[in-house]
Amino acid sequence: MTDQKEVDTEIINLVVARLKTIPPDAHLSVGGDETKTMNSEDLIVEVKKQSEIGKQIIESQLFFLRSLRDLPIESNA
């Protein structure tokens, strides 16, 4: 249980670190019952709260990191 919590915290920290690299002028439109546009600070708050949007952001960042190996890369780039 403690290990699980530690992993969760590590994951949140990892996602927060990634979100901090998003330029402050970028706003994400996220749908749902109440559509919002959110900057990186807003997203970080949602991730830390582990709200529904926050969980979706965590999932998409982790999916990206896990799939890096399989993503298409232009050979002549």
Binding site: T21, I22, P23, D25, A26, H27, L28, S29, V30, G31, G32, D33, T35, T37, Q56, S60, Q61, F63, F64, S67, L71, P72, I73, E74, A77
Partner: protein
């Protein structure tokens, strides 16, 4: 030679998200008009439930493209008015090829459309996301490099359908565009490469349903 299609496109515009959808959908309207099709462009206040139901009831439409807010059971028009709702009027899309660029409509509404005789459906089973730099580009959303990858990839569904491709082909073509964009962003110093996880999100949650040929 491609047969002339009857195409209905809804493009509400009343806040930031629909403002971007509206402008990027202009490109779909242009492609549709250039192809010699019969195009019904329900923009802004014309994107109402009354108008949509009227067009769907009175005309035999081949392709119907919705841009707007949505949830698992409905897709919205101007000022958030529900245009098509599961359990209410999804039957009106019988025989149509449908693309819903709206949050989550592929989860329940898209399935119901198919059960009620829709020819095919492309949409998203989770929220459709996009980044924008609205402060700098609100007046010129087509030049916003944060938004461009999301709309180029999703527009490909509409462009393919307008050009007479099947929903499966449109879905596949769109996925190719997603992959090309992601590949380009991964291997460049582009300042917008932070969008990749969210592009992947849209691509993964894009769904395509179709009726088997009998």
């Amino acid at each position: 030679m491609k047969a002339m299609l009857s195409i209905l496109i809804t493009r509400p515009r009343y806040e930031t998200a629909t403002h971007y959808l509206y402008h990027w959908s202009t490109l779909l309207v242009q492609v549709a008009n250039n192809g010699g099709n019969k195009v019904f462009d329900l923009e802004k206040k014309r994107a109402s439930r009354k108008n949509v139901e009227s067009y769907l009831s009175k005309r035999k439409l081949s392709v119907v493209i919705f841009n707007g807010h949505g949830d698992s059971h409905s897709v919205a028009g101007q000022d958030g008015e529900d245009l098509i709702t599961a359990g209410q009027n999804a039957n009106l899309l019988k025989g149509c090829v449908v693309f819903m660029r709206a949050c989550s409509a592929g989860k329940v509404l898209g399935i119901e459309i198919m059960k009620l005789g829709g020819k095919s459906f492309v949409g998203y089973k989770e929220p459709f996301r996009f980044y924008s730099n609205e402060k700098e580009y609100f007046k010129k959303p087509l030049e916003d490099d944060y938004a461009r990858p999301f709309f180029e990839a999703s527009n490909q569904v509409g462009v393919s359908l307008i050009k007479g491709k099947t929903a499966q082909e449109a879905d596949e073509n769109s996925r190719k565009v997603y992959k090309n964009i992601i590949s380009r962003l991964l291997t460049s110093n582009a300042s917008n490469s932070f969008v990749i996880p969210d592009l992947l999100w849209n691509m993964r949650h894009q769904v395509c349903y179709w009726q088997e040929e009998k």
